[in-house]
């Protein structure tokens, strides 16, 4: 990094010394800026937006990485390797040779065997009261605290309170104590099993210490989802809980390597990996930090940030190109005069280049500040969202993105890129000045050049053909086709090339659309090709498209002379039109994807209302605990006001000879009320209506209906529609002498298959409660009620009623609500960044109009002299701008929709996600963006219409 910054400084010094030697040029460039203040302001805003975009994307990325690094540091500290066996634990003796070698080579500085397990934890007494809402899933951890003080380079301090924990005492992490309101001395229940005894008589512990530390004193399991916190137990007490077969068996063995991945020292890691691979101990090995970093860098969030950064940089480049294209075109006459007056090509070029440097330098500080504000604002919304979600008390917890962070490096890189990018672009772009025909420039006549090929174009074309013909590889093929598409128009000049050009861009578009791939990277590439090809397709067919616009505006007053000019300017200025279209389509493209894809997820989530609980509004769950009398009776259910239909269900465990078959037994209400539809049924049911089939299924308790996944590619149990099989239904009976298991034989036939039912409701066959053995087994099963609400608005009153009766209720709306809140929250955040991106488009179109007005002053004068009125001039600009904006929006929507469909194909997988398109949202977005953009062109257009003809024809600034 320091090399990069040093290079920038050296380049800066060279550049400044270059400036000093060209005082005349500096003076001219500097004065040019203040000649047209409004335009200069727009140029600076344009440069500022480009830089703010880049800094903003880097800031978001930094904040996210900071969160990841902080959480790795907090949860893992010096833990670099985790050796584990989920089922049986790790025998530390088996690792001794490997550990010995690692220690003798001095590669590691700590080994610590530990126990941990996830258990629901709650305030003492909640469990007995079945107050499930306060339950939180926590990591319960323990290790030899005396040995732990030697773990890692920075030996951890372990307080005496923890070292001296008694068997009924615990230490809890501060995040858990804060979120649950516990302090030292409070008591908690740890529910160490799913059986009724564990629930009714949980182990009680007293909190002795609140831990606020990093690393092993905050460890929650290497891939723990336990964001809720950890509980530290006495070492012997924990041994009794985990009950491993031998003394030396542990849940995991943690290893601290010398050096630190986060600190940048990877030397030890490679050597340690070699030794681990040599011994390959037969256990699972997690390269804890490296794995966590890997999973983050290949995760969706990183993908989104990369996508945003690339988008930001491209949008910035296009905006800059557009700005400097207009600047050179505006200065053409002056440059011609300078050239005629003896300025060399280089000097003429440098006048524009230095001017651009000033714009860039002026905009740097504002760009940096604005970029930081932008990313800070966007990230604060992430923080609000995650902390809002954590309030919802989701059992497994939510990571809280707590702090905005931008590194000095990012600011420097962002500023450097923000300076270098425009400098490089303008430097090369100003070479177009070299091509200036001095006479034409002075006369202000457009140069006419016959299109001719250049060797470099041919090289690119040939390269494109070679890449296309290379063996099966999507990247090279598509890149090749893109090159062909770009360079054919500049190389092959034959009579009908214009016709051919109209269709060429469709080729990569079609290939991208039909090329099957599940990779997100290929998808990213496809996305840009689809967008790029759509833009090219539109530009090559601009005359046809503008013709369509002509038809659209043909009914306005004085349409003919207005359209004659309004339609021809975009068509004859393809490069400029192309840049505006690109700016808009780029932003809209990303906005559409960010609207459509989450919408599909949200809409499917909403539609899942009928499948999540089979069309019921919620369920009441009762774990075996009827002893307490807590399960509501039919009569008690009747007393709950505002409740609609309700019916009981039981989850039963049954077994064939070698397979577990989870059964769900449901009452008549389920068969009457559910909204599930049949995928297929046995022949006996052919010709019956769905409701009739449900009644048949209810009346025949040996007939079962199964979810589609159960008969389709079921890796555990190979069954199909029409199969009959015997199961033994299990029942655990708890008595004074302990627990014993009873079994009841039962015959099941798969009579129908349903699609869409959620796996949380049915993991296996659903059978009617007419089942004769139900009475024998229902006492020991998890059971409950499926219910509907009298009206959707009754949700809160019903929830309170259940709570009063100590019931654990889950409502479909809550589950959907959380999902929607997460999805929509993230979308809103990203979209706020993207809507900011629209400023790039708006600045682009504003600069275009402002510069067009000054560029076309004479034309406006002439138009006025031959009879164009004020409103006609205004309408000419209005329609011309509308064409570019609307085309940009339409292209963005088209390419965005196609890409969204490709994303949908990937995320759908083999699932039941439907492609649902948010027509209303997209139309509102498109109209809104059009109106805001056109508003920004109003003032310059009005100014154009107000120019006096005599003034315009003088055409001097």
């Amino acid at each position: 990094m320091s090399i990069f910054i040093t290079v920038i400084i050296i380049l800066g010094i060279i550049f400044v010394s270059g400036l000093i030697s060209n005082k005349i040029l500096i003076k001219m460039a500097f004065r040019n800026i203040f000649r047209k203040k409004n335009e200069a302001l727009l140029m600076m805003i344009g440069s500022m937006i480009s830089m703010a975009f880049i800094i903003g994307a880097l800031g978001l990325n930094d904040s996210f990485n900071n969160f990841v690094y902080k959480s790795i540091e907090n949860n893992l500290g010096e833990i670099d390797y985790v050796i584990y066996d989920r089922e049986n634990g790790v025998d530390a003796d088996e690792l001794s040779d490997m550990i010995d070698e690692l220690q003798s080579e001095d590669y590691i500085d700590g080994v610590l065997p530990i126990y941990y397990k996830f258990f629901p934890v709650t305030k003492a007494g909640d469990s007995k009261k079945m107050n499930f809402t306060n339950f939180k899933q926590l990591s319960v951890v323990s290790f030899d605290y005396e040995k732990a003080v030697y773990f890692g380079m920075n030996k951890p301090e372990i307080p005496d309170e923890i070292k001296n924990l008694k068997e009924n005492e615990v230490a809890v992490t501060s995040d858990y104590s804060v979120s649950s309101g516990f302090s030292v001395g409070d008591q908690i229940d740890i529910i160490q099993g799913t059986d009724p005894m564990s629930l009714l008589f949980p182990k009680k512990y007293t909190i002795k210490y609140i831990i606020d530390k990093k690393g092993i004193m905050n460890y929650r399991g290497f891939n723990s989802e336990g964001f809720n916190g950890a509980v530290y137990l006495n070492y012997n007490a924990m041994k009794k809980i985990v009950k491993y077969s031998s003394e030396n068996r542990y849940t995991e063995v943690l290893i601290s390597a010398k050096g630190d991945i986060l600190g940048g020292n990877r030397d030890y890691s490679d050597k340690i990996n070699d030794i681990i691979n040599k011994y390959s101990p037969g256990y699972g090995i997690s390269y804890a930090k490296a794995d966590r970093l890997e999973s983050v860098s290949s995760g969706e969030v990183t993908f989104v940030f990369i996508f945003l950064s690339v988008f930001a940089i491209i949008a910035g480049i296009v905006l800059l190109l557009n700005m400097y294209d207009m600047l050179i075109s505006e200065r053409k006459r002056e440059l011609g005069i300078l050239r005629a007056g003896g300025f060399s090509k280089k000097w003429a070029r440098l006048t524009v280049f230095y001017e651009s440097i000033f714009y860039t330098l002026f905009s740097v500080p504002f760009g940096v500040i604005f970029g930081i504000i932008l990313s800070r604002f966007t990230f604060s919304r992430v923080t609000n969202l995650t902390s809002g979600l954590s309030d919802l008390n989701i059992l497994s917890g939510v990571p809280i993105f707590d702090k905005f962070y931008i590194s000095i490096n990012s600011v420097l890189i962002g500023s450097a890129v923000g300076i270098i990018l425009p400098v490089i672009i303008t430097y090369f772009y100003t070479f177009t000045v070299n091509r200036l025909n001095i006479v034409n420039a002075i006369k202000d006549v457009k140069d006419y050049r016959k299109p001719k090929s250049k060797p470099v174009y041919w090289i690119m074309l040939v390269l494109g053909i070679i890449l296309t013909l290379l063996p099966e590889n999507f990247y090279t093929k598509i890149f090749g086709i893109s090159l062909i598409m770009l360079f054919i128009p500049f190389t092959v000049f034959f009579k009908y090339r214009n016709i051919l050009n109209r269709f060429i861009p469709a080729i990569p578009m079609i290939i991208s659309f039909f090329y099957k791939s599940q990779s997100f990277i290929v998808l990213g590439e496809k996305a840009f090709i689809i967008l790029f090809a759509t833009i090219m397709l539109s530009l090559y067919n601009l005359d046809i498209l503008t013709g369509a616009f002509g038809f659209l505006f043909s009914k306005i007053k004085n349409a003919s002379p207005i359209l004659k000019i309004a339609l021809n300017y975009p068509v004859r200025n393809k490069r400029r039109t192309g840049m505006i279209i690109t700016l808009y389509s780029l932003v809209i493209f990303v906005l559409v994807i960010m609207t459509v894809v989450p919408y599909i997820q949200v809409a499917n989530l909403q539609n899942s209302k009928d499948t999540l609980f089979a069309g019921f509004d919620g369920i009441l769950v009762n774990v075996p605990g009827d002893l307490t009398g807590k399960k509501l009776s039919d009569e008690e259910m009747k007393e709950i006001e505002n409740l609609g239909a309700y019916g009981q269900f039981y989850f039963l465990t049954s077994k064939t000879e070698d397979q577990e078959v989870p059964l769900i037994v449901t009452s008549k209400t389920f068969y009457d009320v559910n909204k599930l539809s049949f995928k297929e049924t046995i022949d006996e049911f052919k010709g019956m209506s769905d409701r009739e089939i449900w009644q048949e299924l209810y009346n025949n308790p040996h007939y079962s209906v199964v979810p589609e996944f159960y008969v389709k590619d079921n890796p555990h149990f190979s069954v199909k529609l029409g199969d009959e099989f015997d199961v033994k239904i299990q029942n655990i009976v708890t008595g004074l002498l302990g627990r014993r298991t009873e079994g009841y034989d039962y015959k099941i036939k798969i009579a129908a298959v349903i699609s869409g039912v959620s796996q949380s409701l049915a993991l296996g066959p659903i059978v009617s409660d007419k089942m004769d053995v139900l009475e024998n087994v229902k006492g020991g099963s998890v059971s409950g009620y499926l219910f509907t609400l009298g009206k959707p608005s009754y949700i809160e009153s019903v929830r309170s009623a259940f709570k009063e009766k100590g019931q654990f209720s889950i409502f479909v709306d809550d589950i959907i609500g959380i999902g929607m809140r997460i999805t929509q929250g993230m979308v809103n955040i990203i979209n706020s960044f993207l809507y900011f991106g629209l400023i790039a488009g708006i600045i682009g179109i504003s600069i275009t109009v402002v510069k067009s007005v000054s560029e076309r002053k004479k034309t406006i004068g002439m138009m006025k002299s031959i009879g164009y009125g004020k409103s006609m001039i205004f309408m000419t600009f209005f329609i011309e701008n509308s064409i570019s904006i609307i085309l940009g929006i339409l292209i963005g929507i088209t390419a965005g929709t196609v890409t969204s469909y490709k994303i949908y194909e990937i995320i759908r997988g083999n699932g039941y996600l439907k492609f649902i398109y948010p027509f209303k949202d997209i139309i509102i977005m498109a109209v809104g963006i059009y109106l805001v953009s056109i508003l920004f062109t109003f003032i310059p257009s009005l100014k154009a219409s107000g120019i006096s003809a005599a003034e315009a024809m003088k055409n001097e600034d």
Binding site: P561, I866, G867
Partner: protein, 228 residues
């Protein structure tokens, strides 16, 4: 046909005031070619702008065919101009994104003529100015003389009563300048249109019926000329 009464134009800036026209009184008859002659800064272009209705005078009247044009609002003047006047500019002022034929037909479209009829009339005129082979060319594909012919065709296509020409040969070489002036003379003869030409080129006077010489915003001399 064109009468001015005490026409004055004063340009005011923060620092100074310039009288570009001082009590100009002229009378131009229908069907004549008039040259307004004078050195740079004499006010001839200002006079042309005021006469043609594109620059409102500070005081005085411009009466064309009995109509005091500045008694109308801007929109009225614009319509009047579209109907009665054509313009030829020194730098042609062709619209770069329109072809020759499209440039020429523009005034007809402004007047509300339908596209096919406008195209037909324009083609006739383009033929008249000798550019029928260039009808689909764009301005940057034309020479100066050709561009000025297009400009003339555009000025005449709507059959205006008056054609204003500001230095029509200023950007052309002598030979092409002569050709352009001959063309103007021919068209004037053919259509009985009034041409008012602003120039500092003495040679133009040879094509004129009447010459107004200007200096410091005043007509200092008016005389008739023997046409070539």
């Amino acid at each position: 046909m064109i009468i001015t009464e005490n026409l004055c134009k004063i340009y005011k800036t923060k620092e100074f005031e310039v009288s570009a026209l001082k009590d100009v009184n002229i009378n131009i008859e229908k069907g004549k070619i008039i040259s307004i002659l004078g050195p740079s800064g004499s006010g001839k272009s200002t006079l042309l702008n005021c006469l043609s209705g594109i620059d409102r005078p500070t005081a005085g009247k411009v009466i064309i065919d009995g109509t005091d044009i500045y008694s109308m609002k801007d929109d009225g003047i614009t319509k009047f101009r579209a109907k009665n006047m054509g313009f030829i500019f020194q730098s042609y002022n062709l619209i770069p994104v329109l072809s020759v034929i499209e440039n020429v037909e523009l005034p007809l479209l402004v007047l509300g003529e339908n596209e096919s009829s406008a195209r037909k009339k324009s083609l006739e005129l383009i033929e008249k100015v000798g550019l029928s082979k260039r009808a689909k060319y764009f301005p940057n594909q034309l020479s100066g003389g050709e561009a000025q012919r297009v400009s003339i065709a555009r000025a005449l296509v709507a059959s205006p009563k008056i054609v204003w020409a500001d230095e029509p040969t200023g950007a052309l070489d002598t030979k092409t300048g002569k050709e352009i002036m001959s063309l103007i003379t021919d068209l004037n003869r053919e259509n009985d249109q009034t041409f008012v030409i602003v120039t500092h080129d003495q040679r133009i006077t040879a094509y004129s019926d009447e010459i107004f010489e200007m200096d410091s915003g005043e007509i200092i001399k008016m005389y008739k000329s023997e046409k070539m």
